[in-house]
């Protein structure tokens, strides 16, 4: 058993070529960015020191984190109820829901973002209607602010939140919930003591996925925030393309990378990551 465990699993041979490719094409540039963050414009920790010096920079990071947290909370919360509904309705309705979910996956983020602008802008459908029927005198400011960014991002993220939850809910034996009822547990007791713990890995996976993807959002804040809500990704692009401060851009990118890695590390303290990503516990 020991020797078998130590020898290389044949699976590695199959993915070896791909692995080499990914490592060189992926890790290479990342290393380059890390390198830049310490060397451009001059060697040292100057770029990172800016975080302490510049209020603006710190505010951007804070805005990003705040928006990502709110987005994650809402997406995962809504995603949980959608996934629950999908698992517990009959097969035909479930197929409809899955199709709708996938359709929203396939529509480009640009199209979806601009649709929100049409719908919720100052002269959009919602404001127009409300004004026409006399409910409001002034258009409600849905767009060009943080609210707009949140609406767009949550809408975009919900399918990502649903899928890991769906997988984890589907894997629960329905008899387990029956057993809980049979033993006298009320609905909320069954949920809190059985269902929630059993879907926790899915919940964590979904939270991580949504939060990490949200960190890199670019189009949605740019369009729906109307320049008023500056998030890290947009700021990085400005540094790269406009002000040409590659060092600052690299520093921010490295910061996000470390942030994500730190989150994964923290997570791994509480549960085996392999269970979160669908592996087995043993």
């Amino acid at each position: 058993m020991q020797t078998f465990n130590r020898s290389i699993h044949p699976g590695w041979l199959i993915i070896a070529p791909l692995l080499v490719l990914v490592v060189t094409l992926y890790l290479g540039p990342i290393m380059n960015i890390l390198w830049l963050s310490f060397t451009d414009p001059e060697p040292g920790l100057g770029n990172y020191a800016k975080l302490g010096e510049s209020d603006a920079l710190l505010r951007i990071v804070w805005t990003t984190v705040r928006i990502c947290i709110v987005t994650t909370l809402f997406s995962v919360g809504l995603g949980y109820s959608i996934a629950y509904a999908m698992v517990h309705c009959d097969q035909r309705q479930k197929n409809y829901m899955l199709t709708l979910l996938l359709v929203s996956f396939w529509i480009s983020i640009l199209v979806r973002t601009f649709s929100w602008l049409m719908l919720l802008g100052r002269k959009g459908l919602v404001n127009g209607t409300l004004e026409n029927i006399g409910l409001i005198a002034e258009p409600i400011a849905f767009m060009r602010n943080e609210l707009g960014v949140l609406i767009g991002m949550i809408h975009y993220m919900i399918p990502y939140a649903v899928l890991p939850l769906l997988v984890s809910m589907q894997s629960i034996d329905t008899r387990i919930m029956d057993a809980s009822r049979n033993l006298g547990a009320s609905g909320s007791q069954s949920f809190l003591r059985i269902y929630l713990p059993l879907t926790l890995p899915g919940l964590v996976a979904s939270t991580l996925l949504v939060f990490i993807l949200s960190l890199g959002f670019y189009v949605t804040p740019a369009v729906l925030g109307g320049g008023k809500v500056l998030m890290v990704a947009e700021y990085i692009s400005v540094q790269l393309l406009v002000t040409l401060k590659w060092g600052t851009a690299a520093m921010l990118a490295a910061l996000m990378l470390f942030g994500v890695l730190a989150m994964l590390w923290l997570m791994s303290k509480f549960m085996k990551l392999s269970t979160v990503f669908g592996g087995t516990t043993r």
């Binding site: 006298g184 007791q189 003591r193 059985i194 713990p197």
Partner: protein, 333 residues
């Protein structure tokens, strides 16, 4: 837990379950005595699980009524029925250890921690799993999981325990062992057991009474001995044990293989049939001989090897004898 239960008799009155246009259970009526070990026996798809699910309250009855000690429970939801249940596949809570699994029923009833602990310890004792109390279900063998499921279902002292093929996942040797344990436990606690199985040996060896089900309806009810000795029709006779069917004067009789005597050589004066031996299979405790009769029928005969020294050989011409009361007249159909 230890004192005998006051309640636990069940009255099932003309119960049916209809899924769409399909009648999974049709017009079942049955009185279950308090403390009885009653087995629902039938082939797969005969409606055993469906009937049990209606008793547990997971399915509504389409027609009829179910009563506990005379009071209807048809409208009582599953979580209020207080029936213990051992599920097919056990349905243990995978994230809880054995102790928490067993204590769950009391814990959701907000009982004091000390009371729960005491009950769990008593249950662990009953199913002999003390040393596994802190393991998760995934770290237990099938037989141990089965015992956890049993302990969990008994911890709140239910008046009725429903068991759906609880030994289905175990290998044969273990099954026999657990059957014994189940019987001992049943005798000790005096709870009414309603036990579902498709295994006739299990039904025969464990039950006070057996209900034979076929296509959602009750075929015959009786003690194991009654059913084995007096099967009503071909279905019961062949489902519970093996049987030969003898046609005589437009009537059909069931004849158990072990109730036939076989004598080598023809023209015995009391012979009821004769023929030639076409197959002999050795099972250790007995030998199964198949005789092709002159009438073109195959008759199976079980011979006690130890007490029948004269060897039967393939191709032997033999006489078959049996007592009048060995052949049981059957209803047609």
């Amino acid at each position: 837990m230890a004192e005998p239960l006051e309640i636990g008799s069940l009255q099932i009155r003309n119960v049916s379950k209809i899924f769409g246009t399909f009648k999974a259970v049709s017009d079942v009526s049955l009185n279950v005595q308090k403390g009885e070990f009653l087995t629902l026996l039938g082939p797969s798809g005969s409606g055993k699980t469906t009937l049990l699910m209606m008793l547990a309250g997971f399915l509504d009855v389409s027609e009829g009524d179910i009563a506990l000690d005379g009071a209807s429970i048809a409208g009582v939801p599953a979580e209020k029925r207080n029936f213990g249940m051992v599920f097919q596949g056990y349905a243990l809570f995978p994230h809880m250890n054995v102790r928490d699994n067993i204590g769950y029923a009391l814990s959701v009833r907000n009982r004091a921690v000390a009371e729960i602990e005491a009950c769990v310890d008593e249950m662990l004792d009953l199913v002999q799993l003390q040393q596994f109390a802190d393991r998760k279900p995934g770290q237990l063998s099938g037989g141990q999981q089965q015992r956890v499921a049993l302990a969990r279902a008994l911890c709140f002292a239910p008046p009725v325990l429903l068991l759906d093929e609880p030994l289905g996942a175990l290998d044969k040797k273990l099954r026999v062992e657990v059957q014994e344990q189940l019987k001992v436990i049943h005798r000790r606690i005096g709870t009414t057991f309603i036990y579902v199985t498709h295994d006739q040996e299990e039904a025969l060896s464990m039950s006070d009474r057996i209900v034979i089900m076929r296509d959602g309806a009750i075929e015959q009810v009786g003690t194991p001995k009654e059913l084995y000795e007096r099967p009503k029709n071909k279905f019961t006779a062949s489902f519970l044990g093996k049987s030969n069917f003898i046609h005589h004067n437009d009537k059909v009789y069931a004849l158990r293989p072990e109730k036939i005597d076989l004598i080598v050589g023809v023209d015995h004066q009391d012979a009821r049939m004769n023929g030639t031996v076409s197959s002999i299979t050795y099972f250790g405790s007995m030998q199964r001989v198949i005789v092709d009769t002159k009438e073109g029928q195959k008759i199976e005969i079980d011979i006690d090897v130890w007490r029948n020294a004269n060897e039967v050989k393939l191709g032997d011409a033999v006489d078959l004898l049996w007592a009048d009361e060995a052949a049981v007249e059957l209803q047609m159909g």
